[in-house]
Subunit: 360 residues, 2 copies
């Protein structure tokens, strides 16, 4: 069975790598030169609206999925006329727009922070008057890893609309959160959903720094799963869907955003679960049966950003290292390290060592 993947980044790369012992093979479309996945699977270099390439993928593949959520919805709709696309164009399209995403959260009864939409300097001023400066201005589309986000308390005198190159913006009230956690669920087209345990995520400058799993709270786990089910049922979703939450000081889960794909906060599953998120996603997309998900011990994942470390100096304990085959650039995700340990304290100690090693 052949699976098409739109986007050839590290997520596509790991989908391919983690499917090594299966009957799946892959065909990837990516507009960039030598993306990470191209080392492991056939990769077509073309734009996402290149009709010839899309028709070729539809001819050659049984199903198509995505490696990142900003594949144009028109591309997915074009493919949907010919083959199965999972997740669907309509699900992905909602996740592309922070405003539609929030509407869906609210529709599903999931708390979100206060927000307004902004489309010009007058509406920005009116929105700040209403919401207060304790807010973040974001682009509705194409934002990721903290890009195109402006803290209204920290910056001033900037023509944000010019800076964002967009007049489709959203102003979100800052959430005074205690923790950031995410729920990773995989939904089959039968409607069955399997969940990984909650993950705690630590961000820096809007970029995920490291994750620790499980975040062990039965009540929150149940609530997050209910929220996920509400959303993924409504979208008739197929594949891995990840929802990121703030946990505020009153213990309330407030939805921040969601990703219609495998997710950085699920990389620990490669070593930490019986089936990892990449295998789970591919199986769901390929309409294969998934029995159950169980985890092994405690896990952590540390992102390697900006610069590749010399790992030969940290061989005192077990770790798995993933290299995305990308060139170094400030704040670029170049790889990650996963740790797994029976003992939570030992895990945290190792995480600390690795984190400090990578920082320097």
């Amino acid at each position: 069975m052949r699976i098409g993947i739109l986007g050839g980044g590290q997520l596509a790369m790991m989908m391919v790598q983690q499917s090594e012992d299966t009957n799946f093979d892959f065909l990837i479309l990516d507009p960039t030169e030598s993306p990470p996945a191209s080392k492991y699977a056939t990769c077509i270099k073309a734009e996402y609206d290149d009709i010839g390439s899309l028709n070729y993928i539809a001819d050659e593949c049984d199903v198509v999925t995505i490696d990142f959520e900003n594949v144009p919805a028109d591309t997915l709709r074009f493919l949907e006329k010919r083959i199965v696309v999972a997740p669907s164009s309509s699900a992905v399209e909602i996740c592309q727009d922070r405003l539609k995403e929030k509407e869906l959260f609210i529709n599903c009864g999931i708390p979100v922070t206060k927000y307004t939409s902004v489309y010009d300097n007058d509406s920005l001023k009116a929105s700040i008057d209403y919401m207060g400066k304790n807010s973040i201005l974001k682009t509705r589309f194409l934002g990721y890893d903290g890009k195109n986000q402006f803290d209204m308390e920290k910056v001033d005198g900037i023509d944000y609309l010019k800076e964002c190159k967009s007049n489709q913006l959203i102003l979100e009230k800052k959430v005074d959160f205690e923790k950031e956690i995410s729920i990773i669920g995989v939904r089959m087209n039968t409607g069955k959903i399997l969940f990984y345990p909650l993950v705690e995520n630590i961000h820096k400058n809007g970029i995920l720094n490291y994750s620790i799993a499980p975040y062990d709270d039965k009540k929150l786990q149940k609530l997050a799963e209910e929220y996920h089910k509400k959303i993924s049922d409504k979208l008739n979703y197929v594949g891995v869907l990840v929802i990121e939450f703030f946990l505020d000081k009153n213990g309330i889960l407030i939805a921040n955003e969601m990703a219609p794909r495998v997710h950085n906060s699920g990389h620990w599953t490669n070593e930490g679960a019986n089936i990892n998120q990449f295998q789970a996603h591919i199986k769901a997309v390929a309409n294969c049966e998934l029995e159950s998900i169980s985890i092994k011990n405690h896990s952590a994942m540390v992102n390697i950003l900006s610069k590749k470390p010399d790992l030969k100096n940290i061989k005192d304990f077990d770790y798995a290292y993933y290299d995305y085959n990308k060139s170094e650039r400030h704040n670029r995700k170049l790889g990650h390290i996963t740790l797994n340990n029976k003992n939570r304290d030992k895990l945290m100690q190792d995480l600390n060592t690795v984190y400090n090693f990578i920082k320097t």
Copy 2:
């Protein structure tokens, strides 16, 4: 030219009355016995989904409009396949759902209070935990005049979902407002919009008690008109559309709800403007030219609720009295009185006299 009106309440009645000297005649559909408008125009007594009656209206009329916003959207869609319906089914459908209405406000960059959707007792509890008890639970559909609304601070121990006979609810954070004001605008299908000045509205138990116009604030007038234009353009709206706002203590306009029809807060226009809201609506719906709107002096409107007063004792000053020909019932709108005066202070004095007279 014949105009169909779905609903035969006092608004339809006044549309007919105020079109007396025109070439328009009317055909009304209403499921109730002898609704207010039936005294002035031909009225078909049938349900809104009675296909025979709808086909008859489509055969006999040139255009169809509505007297109340809860005409089923399917009825409007059915008619739209045969004749012009103004406002359109899609515009009316949004106004029927408090959740969709709020989404539209946010999409247009208009502040709204914080809200969550509620669909069962668990989600109600979670929503109150998040929003606080300083909130009002409302049905998304079919609520009006404060019906099906529960102040979470005042009531307790009620099974709201059972009480509301609905699992499509919305919890809205109470707004600490200084005033309630509304903007009445009429949009032609050319895109031209004419506005009345802002109206101040005083409610009691969720029901409009009286209105005073103009609410003279150039800056707010401009902003409210901009908000109205954003929305009515987006909906490609034809006819009168009214948006009700809270004005908070910081001078911020916060949209509360909107009505896709002529509105109780515009009844003063009968005596207070060169063209009243009923004439303006019918002309827009009938695709006739509307030049401009100007007002005469200061106006007030007082609703007559529950019980009809003996007006012969208040003849010391000019007023206009409208009787809706309805039987008395607690909190039912039975009629209204409009006052108009060059002198604002004299108007307020008269308003006070009438209001106190009606109360007793």
